[in-house]
Subunit: 402 residues, 2 copies
């Protein structure tokens, strides 16, 4: 009855509702997802411009220049950046020009300041010019071109580009809000003292980090004991939630209430478990059109279910066009001695050495453990029916980066 | 006179001032840097506990069990998660126990619910038990152990761990504030219309993204024309700035005022240029104990200087113990046809194929261009005096991930 991860993912990805779009100030756009194509309204550079500080000249004038017989031109104009040339260059003339400034008419090359001797308005040039040294109008962007596409995640280059194009308030997708509730009578808040049989609600904070890493907004609903009414109460009354995630009560025990919750809330169950470990227990369905997903209360299990199944869904909801992690092969640097009947995701730290990606499986791989996740930057995807994996074995690694 | 990047970096890293430390609520700690070692005050798990829903038994009682001759035990207790066992198990007895609950005294194994038949208080077991199925007290963490070290970046695993340990307000480093000012008479704000000779201030937004990606807090000072007084004014009066970054006016032209600014502000210059392209112009010094760095106004140049030189400095200032990017070898998927006299950083997109990391150099590599940075996830580090690089050449890649 357990579903392949890929099949479960396909089911959820099929019914994605994109978030709303809103224009927001550029200074708040870091890592947001662009919700429109951006078309250039003009060429960039908007004119032929100088890439350096120097003198604009006519190549033909300096073709006989040499160290012993420099060509001397007459400076007729001076164009600081931010200004425009006022004079056309004629034979024997040059214009002082700063980085980024517009090339004067008549000139077809720029010689850099360091290669020139200047004496009042006499400019001595000691060598011919064989390259123009000019940034051409439109060489970076052509008018009418789509410069940035809808779905682009806005980082340094894209933000600079939006600024260059004058997009002070680009249209971006709203960040999906993800409500996170931990269920379990054994749970207490992080600021409460432990008493016998109790443990603190760590899943809220662990999943908060995962949700933020996925570019979404976590809404922490805290913890609630194993009581159907209370669980429903906690989940009710929040606005504009894109996904509800619960932890706990998702496997087979009779204190496991999530199945009953789905019945009570009249949520048709899309699936109840995935064919993988950790992260097998996953109940998913639509509660009044919003995805409600019940994960295991075991931290490692909840984390892997989120990572493998829910993160791509949330990235796609966010409007991003790339929503899967990069996958690589990695070579085991330490053996992984647990044979796997099921497909198994193994916490690992990957590092390049001499161009080869090595993976070191973490010591702690238990379902109930958080320790295995520290220093992790990859999940190794070990196929079902695998034997012990020796040092040097090549495995598939999901890299926990964009 | 140009300094090796590595030498310049060493100069700056030598004199790092760590930020202040403050306790902040756990829900705000994502990606913050831990400013203290966290020591476990008790074992975790705090007691032997069950990893699943089932029955706690004595192994010896069930060693003769078989499908045809099941062993029948008497249920004497029921321990939901969050409760504690009230009875010791004697010969012939069993206790119903939920995931995470404490193992009752006397029991040394847990049999999962699915393998048991229950009829009122009679519990039938159909096979002997060969593994205990018990999570041992302290198997994840031992009392007194340092669980998380100062300098750890707080992500999912670490945040869950802090919650588990009851650290509701961990001590973290303040985020360095980085003031960013673009200089240049040609610059206008992002919301202003272009006029002849003018370009918009894109560097503020590009560097804002880089600063945020480095875990720091950008303070955008906008743009200012090439006027020493105005530049000083713009830089003055901000509190608790960890680094000032200016763009523009950092190379050799006589409109390049940053050198004069350093003199005016009485800042001894640590260095003025790095032996690399782009990103060569970098003037750095301490202005009343705060690092002031003048970068080129060319976007690609400013970005590479920041990435290669300033990001590691800011990460170390933030308290992070890992502050360098991962470096790998990558195989060129497209030729890079520009011979490099200088060491050159090349914008590239890297992708794994069959376990090999391939790098595709971007089409736009110009100093003055932003277009090359779109879709980039690596900088290729091409040594000085390199010829054209053919397809298949192995190069060094700095991966723009943590």
């Amino acid at each position: 009855m357990a579903l392949l991860l890929e099949d479960a993912l396909a089911i959820l990805l099929r019914k994605i509702q994109l978030q709303g779009k809103n224009p927001i100030p550029l200074e708040e756009c870091y890592q947001r997802v662009l919700a429109e194509d951006i078309v250039a309204e003009m060429d960039f550079p908007p004119f032929d411009r100088s890439p350096l500080d120097g003198y604009a000249v006519r190549m033909v004038d300096v073709q006989e220049a040499s160290f012993t017989q420099p060509v001397v031109l007459k400076q007729v104009d001076d164009v600081p950046a931010g200004s425009v040339p006022s004079k056309k260059i004629e034979a024997g003339q040059a214009t002082r020009i700063m980085t980024g400034a517009k090339i004067p008419e008549g000139a077809n090359a720029v010689i850099r300041l360091e290669d020139i001797e200047v004496n009042q308005d006499r400019v001595s040039i000691f060598a011919p010019v064989d390259i123009a040294n000019i940034c051409r109008q439109g060489e970076e962007i052509r008018k009418g071109e789509i410069v940035l596409r809808q779905g682009t995640v806005l980082r340094d280059g894209a933000l600079g580009m939006l600024a260059m194009l004058g997009q002070a308030k680009p249209l971006v997708y709203d960040q999906p809000k993800v409500a996170i509730l931990a269920t379990g009578t054994e749970l207490i808040g992080v600021d409460q003292p432990l008493s016998p049989g109790k443990i603190r609600n760590s899943n809220n904070y662990m999943l908060m980090a995962k949700v933020r890493e996925a570019g979404c907004q976590p809404i922490l609903l805290g913890q609630v004991c194993d009581d159907l009414e209370l669980i429903e109460q906690k989940l009710t009354g929040h606005k504009n939630i894109a996904m509800y995630i619960t932890t706990g009560g998702a496997s087979v025990g009779d204190y496991d209430l999530m199945e009953q919750l789905f019945v009570k809330l009249n949520i048709p169950m899309l699936f109840t478990r995935l064919a993988m470990k950790p992260g097998m227990p996953v109940m998913a369905g639509y509660w009044r059109d919003t995805l409600l997903v019940a994960l295991s209360g075991n931290p490692a299990s909840a984390n892997v279910s989120f990572e493998a199944l829910l993160r791509p869904v949330l990235r796609k909801m966010s409007g991003a066009t790339v929503f899967e992690r990069p996958i690589s092969r990695a070579t085991l640097k330490k053996a992984f001695t647990k044979p796997s009947l099921s497909r198994r995701f193994v916490w690992a730290h990957c590092e390049f050495e001499d161009g080869i990606l090595y993976a070191e499986p973490m010591r702690f791989q238990g379902n109930g453990m958080l320790a295995g996740m520290l220093q992790v930057n990859a999940l190794l995807d070990i196929p079902a029916d695998s034997d012990c994996l020796q040092i040097g074995t090549e495995v598939e690694a999901r890299l926990l980066v964009d």
